[in-house]
Protein backbone atom coordinates (compact mmCIF):
# COMPACT_ATOMS: atom_id res chain seq x y z
CA UNK A 1 0.00 0.00 0.00
CA UNK A 2 1.69 3.19 -1.14
CA UNK A 3 0.78 6.34 0.72
CA UNK A 4 2.00 9.90 0.53
CA UNK A 5 4.01 12.10 2.83
CA UNK A 6 2.90 15.54 3.96
CA UNK A 7 4.77 18.38 5.57
CA UNK A 8 2.73 20.96 7.45
CA UNK A 9 4.48 24.20 8.24
CA UNK A 10 4.66 27.92 7.69
CA UNK A 11 5.38 29.06 4.15
CA UNK A 12 9.10 29.46 4.85
CA UNK A 13 9.57 26.06 6.41
CA UNK A 14 7.78 24.03 3.77
CA UNK A 15 9.84 25.59 1.00
CA UNK A 16 11.59 22.91 -0.96
CA UNK A 17 9.65 19.94 0.32
CA UNK A 18 7.33 20.20 -2.64
CA UNK A 19 10.36 19.91 -4.91
CA UNK A 20 11.40 16.54 -3.48
CA UNK A 21 7.93 15.08 -3.85
CA UNK A 22 6.44 15.65 -0.43
CA UNK A 23 3.07 17.37 -0.27
CA UNK A 24 3.80 20.72 1.30
CA UNK A 25 0.86 22.10 3.25
CA UNK A 26 1.14 25.72 4.24
CA UNK A 27 -0.32 26.82 7.52
CA UNK A 28 0.86 30.24 8.61
CA UNK A 29 -1.01 30.68 11.85
CA UNK A 30 -0.88 28.27 14.78
CA UNK A 31 -4.60 28.84 15.39
CA UNK A 32 -5.42 27.02 12.17
CA UNK A 33 -3.00 24.19 12.85
CA UNK A 34 -5.56 21.84 14.37
CA UNK A 35 -8.01 22.30 11.51
CA UNK A 36 -5.35 21.90 8.84
CA UNK A 37 -3.94 18.81 10.49
CA UNK A 38 -7.40 17.30 10.85
CA UNK A 39 -8.06 17.74 7.15
CA UNK A 40 -4.77 16.04 6.29
CA UNK A 41 -5.08 13.20 8.77
CA UNK A 42 -8.64 12.31 7.89
CA UNK A 43 -7.90 11.81 4.24
CA UNK A 44 -6.12 8.54 4.95
CA UNK A 45 -3.83 9.28 2.05
CA UNK A 46 -0.84 10.07 4.17
CA UNK A 47 1.33 7.60 6.03
CA UNK A 48 3.76 10.17 7.38
CA UNK A 49 2.89 13.71 8.41
CA UNK A 50 5.78 15.97 9.37
CA UNK A 51 4.76 19.09 11.19
CA UNK A 52 6.80 22.02 12.43
CA UNK A 53 7.28 22.18 16.15
CA UNK A 54 5.21 25.26 16.80
CA UNK A 55 2.27 23.89 14.85
CA UNK A 56 2.71 20.54 16.58
CA UNK A 57 2.25 22.23 19.89
CA UNK A 58 -0.82 24.09 18.68
CA UNK A 59 -2.49 20.99 17.25
CA UNK A 60 -1.39 18.58 19.95
CA UNK A 61 -4.91 17.66 21.01
CA UNK A 62 -5.87 16.65 17.50
CA UNK A 63 -2.59 14.80 17.00
CA UNK A 64 -3.03 12.78 20.19
CA UNK A 65 -5.99 11.04 18.60
CA UNK A 66 -3.65 9.25 16.24
CA UNK A 67 -1.11 8.18 18.83
CA UNK A 68 -2.47 4.63 19.01
CA UNK A 69 -2.85 3.97 15.30
CA UNK A 70 0.00 2.78 13.12
CA UNK A 71 -0.59 5.38 10.41
CA UNK A 72 -0.31 8.30 10.06
CA UNK A 73 2.96 8.77 11.90
CA UNK A 74 3.03 12.38 13.03
CA UNK A 75 6.56 13.64 13.51
CA UNK A 76 7.47 17.10 14.79
CA UNK A 77 10.49 18.68 13.12
CA UNK A 78 12.10 22.07 13.62
CA UNK A 79 11.03 24.77 11.17
CA UNK A 80 12.98 27.80 10.06
CA UNK A 81 12.20 29.59 13.28
CA UNK A 82 14.60 27.52 15.29
CA UNK A 83 14.63 24.35 17.26
CA UNK A 84 12.48 24.18 20.36
CA UNK A 85 13.57 20.59 21.13
CA UNK A 86 9.99 19.36 21.28
CA UNK A 87 11.03 16.25 19.38
CA UNK A 88 13.56 15.25 22.01
CA UNK A 89 11.10 16.06 24.76
CA UNK A 90 8.61 13.80 23.06
CA UNK A 91 11.17 11.00 23.12
CA UNK A 92 11.80 11.45 26.83
CA UNK A 93 8.05 11.35 27.34
CA UNK A 94 7.97 7.96 25.63
CA UNK A 95 10.74 6.67 27.85
CA UNK A 96 8.98 8.01 30.89
CA UNK A 97 5.74 6.36 29.85
CA UNK A 98 7.41 3.02 29.27
CA UNK A 99 9.94 2.84 32.07
CA UNK A 100 8.33 5.03 34.69
CA UNK A 101 11.11 7.57 34.79
CA UNK A 102 13.34 9.19 32.23
CA UNK A 103 16.49 7.09 32.43
CA UNK A 104 18.07 7.91 29.10
CA UNK A 105 18.09 11.60 28.39
CA UNK A 106 18.58 13.15 31.77
Amino acid sequence: MVKNIAFIGDSESVKGFGAVGIDAVICDSPENAAAVFKKIAEKDRYAVVYITEELYEAAQKEIQRFSETAVPAVIPLPGTRGNTRIGTKRLSAFVEQAVGSDILFK
Partner: protein, 217 residues
Protein backbone atom coordinates in the same frame (compact mmCIF):
# COMPACT_ATOMS: atom_id res chain seq x y z
CA UNK B 1 -5.68 -7.20 51.76
CA UNK B 2 -9.35 -7.84 51.38
CA UNK B 3 -10.40 -11.38 50.72
CA UNK B 4 -12.97 -12.30 48.12
CA UNK B 5 -16.58 -12.75 48.94
CA UNK B 6 -16.89 -16.53 48.57
CA UNK B 7 -18.36 -19.45 50.44
CA UNK B 8 -15.72 -21.30 52.45
CA UNK B 9 -16.21 -24.67 50.82
CA UNK B 10 -13.75 -27.22 49.55
CA UNK B 11 -15.08 -26.90 46.01
CA UNK B 12 -14.61 -23.18 46.03
CA UNK B 13 -11.07 -23.62 47.29
CA UNK B 14 -10.18 -26.02 44.50
CA UNK B 15 -11.56 -23.55 42.00
CA UNK B 16 -9.58 -20.70 43.52
CA UNK B 17 -6.40 -22.76 43.53
CA UNK B 18 -6.81 -23.35 39.82
CA UNK B 19 -7.39 -19.66 39.23
CA UNK B 20 -4.32 -18.80 41.28
CA UNK B 21 -2.24 -21.11 39.14
CA UNK B 22 -3.52 -19.46 35.98
CA UNK B 23 -2.84 -16.04 37.41
CA UNK B 24 0.72 -17.03 38.31
CA UNK B 25 1.35 -18.38 34.83
CA UNK B 26 -0.14 -15.26 33.25
CA UNK B 27 1.97 -13.09 35.49
CA UNK B 28 5.14 -14.86 34.48
CA UNK B 29 4.37 -14.60 30.79
CA UNK B 30 3.40 -10.95 30.98
CA UNK B 31 6.57 -10.22 32.89
CA UNK B 32 8.63 -11.89 30.17
CA UNK B 33 6.75 -9.91 27.56
CA UNK B 34 7.38 -6.68 29.40
CA UNK B 35 11.08 -7.37 29.80
CA UNK B 36 11.56 -8.22 26.15
CA UNK B 37 9.52 -5.21 25.01
CA UNK B 38 11.56 -3.02 27.27
CA UNK B 39 14.84 -4.33 25.90
CA UNK B 40 13.77 -3.68 22.33
CA UNK B 41 12.28 -0.33 23.21
CA UNK B 42 15.47 0.93 24.83
CA UNK B 43 17.47 -0.09 21.80
CA UNK B 44 15.01 1.57 19.47
CA UNK B 45 14.74 4.75 21.44
CA UNK B 46 18.50 5.19 21.52
CA UNK B 47 18.62 4.82 17.77
CA UNK B 48 15.71 7.22 17.53
CA UNK B 49 17.59 9.85 19.51
CA UNK B 50 20.66 9.57 17.33
CA UNK B 51 18.65 9.74 14.14
CA UNK B 52 16.60 12.68 15.36
CA UNK B 53 19.70 14.68 16.23
CA UNK B 54 21.10 13.92 12.81
CA UNK B 55 17.91 14.85 10.97
CA UNK B 56 17.43 18.02 12.96
CA UNK B 57 20.97 19.15 12.25
CA UNK B 58 20.68 18.34 8.56
CA UNK B 59 17.32 20.01 8.32
CA UNK B 60 18.57 23.26 9.77
CA UNK B 61 21.36 23.13 7.21
CA UNK B 62 18.77 22.68 4.46
CA UNK B 63 16.86 25.65 5.76
CA UNK B 64 19.97 27.77 5.67
CA UNK B 65 20.58 26.65 2.08
CA UNK B 66 17.12 27.79 1.17
CA UNK B 67 17.67 31.08 2.92
CA UNK B 68 20.83 31.73 0.98
CA UNK B 69 19.02 30.72 -2.20
CA UNK B 70 16.27 33.17 -1.48
CA UNK B 71 18.87 35.85 -0.91
CA UNK B 72 20.23 35.62 -4.45
CA UNK B 73 16.96 34.87 -6.23
CA UNK B 74 13.77 36.81 -6.32
CA UNK B 75 10.95 35.44 -4.27
CA UNK B 76 8.75 34.84 -7.31
CA UNK B 77 11.49 33.03 -9.17
CA UNK B 78 12.23 30.84 -6.20
CA UNK B 79 8.60 29.99 -5.56
CA UNK B 80 7.90 29.22 -9.18
CA UNK B 81 10.97 27.00 -9.48
CA UNK B 82 9.84 24.96 -6.53
CA UNK B 83 6.20 24.92 -7.45
CA UNK B 84 6.22 22.02 -9.83
CA UNK B 85 7.68 18.76 -8.74
CA UNK B 86 9.44 16.28 -10.97
CA UNK B 87 8.95 13.48 -8.54
CA UNK B 88 6.33 12.22 -6.21
CA UNK B 89 7.67 10.60 -3.07
CA UNK B 90 5.49 8.13 -1.28
CA UNK B 91 6.02 5.40 1.23
CA UNK B 92 5.11 1.78 1.02
CA UNK B 93 3.47 0.91 4.31
CA UNK B 94 3.84 -2.55 5.74
CA UNK B 95 3.20 -3.82 9.22
CA UNK B 96 5.71 -5.55 11.44
CA UNK B 97 4.87 -7.33 14.64
CA UNK B 98 7.18 -6.72 17.59
CA UNK B 99 5.95 -8.68 20.62
CA UNK B 100 2.31 -8.29 19.60
CA UNK B 101 2.69 -4.59 18.83
CA UNK B 102 1.89 -3.77 15.22
CA UNK B 103 4.42 -1.22 14.09
CA UNK B 104 4.59 0.24 10.60
CA UNK B 105 7.50 -0.22 8.25
CA UNK B 106 7.97 2.51 5.70
CA UNK B 107 9.99 2.15 2.55
CA UNK B 108 10.37 5.11 0.25
CA UNK B 109 8.95 4.94 -3.23
CA UNK B 110 9.75 7.81 -5.53
CA UNK B 111 8.49 8.23 -9.01
CA UNK B 112 10.41 10.58 -11.22
CA UNK B 113 8.40 11.74 -14.17
CA UNK B 114 11.30 12.96 -16.29
CA UNK B 115 14.97 12.43 -16.72
CA UNK B 116 15.87 15.74 -15.15
CA UNK B 117 16.47 13.89 -11.92
CA UNK B 118 15.53 15.46 -8.65
CA UNK B 119 15.51 19.05 -9.85
CA UNK B 120 12.05 20.23 -10.82
CA UNK B 121 13.34 23.28 -12.69
CA UNK B 122 15.66 24.22 -15.48
CA UNK B 123 19.06 25.48 -14.49
CA UNK B 124 18.99 28.63 -16.61
CA UNK B 125 17.32 31.01 -14.20
CA UNK B 126 18.15 29.55 -10.84
CA UNK B 127 21.14 29.86 -8.60
CA UNK B 128 23.35 27.01 -7.52
CA UNK B 129 22.40 27.63 -3.91
CA UNK B 130 18.96 26.36 -4.77
CA UNK B 131 20.48 23.23 -6.32
CA UNK B 132 22.37 22.66 -3.08
CA UNK B 133 19.25 23.13 -1.04
CA UNK B 134 17.14 20.70 -3.06
CA UNK B 135 19.96 18.20 -3.25
CA UNK B 136 20.57 18.20 0.48
CA UNK B 137 16.87 17.88 1.18
CA UNK B 138 16.66 14.97 -1.21
CA UNK B 139 19.55 13.26 0.54
CA UNK B 140 17.88 13.78 3.86
CA UNK B 141 14.66 12.12 2.75
CA UNK B 142 15.55 8.49 3.53
CA UNK B 143 16.63 9.47 7.03
CA UNK B 144 13.44 11.42 7.57
CA UNK B 145 11.34 8.44 6.56
CA UNK B 146 13.39 6.14 8.79
CA UNK B 147 12.89 8.60 11.63
CA UNK B 148 9.14 8.53 11.10
CA UNK B 149 9.13 4.75 11.21
CA UNK B 150 11.24 4.48 14.35
CA UNK B 151 9.52 7.26 16.18
CA UNK B 152 6.09 5.81 15.50
CA UNK B 153 7.32 2.40 16.66
CA UNK B 154 8.63 3.93 19.87
CA UNK B 155 5.32 5.66 20.46
CA UNK B 156 3.33 2.47 19.98
CA UNK B 157 5.73 0.38 22.04
CA UNK B 158 5.77 2.84 24.91
CA UNK B 159 1.99 2.60 25.14
CA UNK B 160 2.10 -1.19 25.02
CA UNK B 161 4.81 -1.38 27.68
CA UNK B 162 2.78 0.84 29.96
CA UNK B 163 -0.26 -1.38 29.52
CA UNK B 164 1.73 -4.55 30.13
CA UNK B 165 3.44 -3.06 33.15
CA UNK B 166 0.08 -2.21 34.67
CA UNK B 167 -1.20 -5.70 34.08
CA UNK B 168 1.91 -7.25 35.64
CA UNK B 169 1.65 -4.99 38.66
CA UNK B 170 -2.03 -5.62 39.17
CA UNK B 171 -1.48 -9.36 39.00
CA UNK B 172 1.54 -9.24 41.26
CA UNK B 173 0.27 -6.88 43.91
CA UNK B 174 -3.50 -7.28 43.83
CA UNK B 175 -4.81 -10.42 42.18
CA UNK B 176 -2.32 -13.01 43.37
CA UNK B 177 -2.21 -11.88 47.04
CA UNK B 178 -5.99 -11.78 47.04
CA UNK B 179 -6.23 -15.34 45.79
CA UNK B 180 -3.67 -16.51 48.32
CA UNK B 181 -5.42 -14.76 51.16
CA UNK B 182 -8.80 -16.19 50.22
CA UNK B 183 -7.43 -19.70 49.90
CA UNK B 184 -5.80 -19.39 53.31
CA UNK B 185 -9.05 -18.08 54.76
CA UNK B 186 -11.03 -21.02 53.36
CA UNK B 187 -8.53 -23.61 54.52
CA UNK B 188 -8.52 -22.14 58.04
CA UNK B 189 -12.28 -22.09 58.06
CA UNK B 190 -12.41 -25.72 56.95
CA UNK B 191 -9.92 -26.77 59.62
CA UNK B 192 -11.89 -24.90 62.21
CA UNK B 193 -15.08 -26.66 61.13
CA UNK B 194 -13.24 -29.93 61.28
CA UNK B 195 -12.05 -29.34 64.81
CA UNK B 196 -15.41 -28.20 66.03
CA UNK B 197 -17.21 -31.23 64.62
CA UNK B 198 -14.55 -33.50 66.11
CA UNK B 199 -15.01 -32.06 69.60
CA UNK B 200 -18.75 -32.27 69.19
CA UNK B 201 -18.45 -35.94 68.30
CA UNK B 202 -16.21 -36.62 71.29
CA UNK B 203 -18.65 -34.87 73.54
CA UNK B 204 -21.59 -36.85 72.15
CA UNK B 205 -19.67 -40.08 72.55
CA UNK B 206 -19.00 -39.26 76.20
CA UNK B 207 -22.61 -38.48 76.81
CA UNK B 208 -23.77 -41.72 75.17
CA UNK B 209 -21.29 -43.80 77.16
CA UNK B 210 -22.34 -42.10 80.34
CA UNK B 211 -25.98 -42.83 79.60
CA UNK B 212 -25.45 -46.51 78.80
CA UNK B 213 -22.95 -47.60 81.43
CA UNK B 214 -22.76 -44.71 83.85
CA UNK B 215 -19.22 -44.71 82.67
CA UNK B 216 -17.21 -41.60 82.15
CA UNK B 217 -13.79 -41.86 80.65
Amino acid sequence: MAIMNVNPTRMQMTKLKKQLQTARRGHKMLKDKRDELMRQFIELVQENKKLRDKVEAALSECHSHFISASAVMSRQALDSSLMSSGQQTGVDVRAKNIMSVDVPVFSAVSESSDEGGIFPYGFAFTSFELDDAVQSLNELLPDMIKLAEIEKSCELMAAEIERTRRRVNSLEHVMIPRYEETIRYISMKLEENDRSSRTRLMKVKDMLLDKAHHYSG
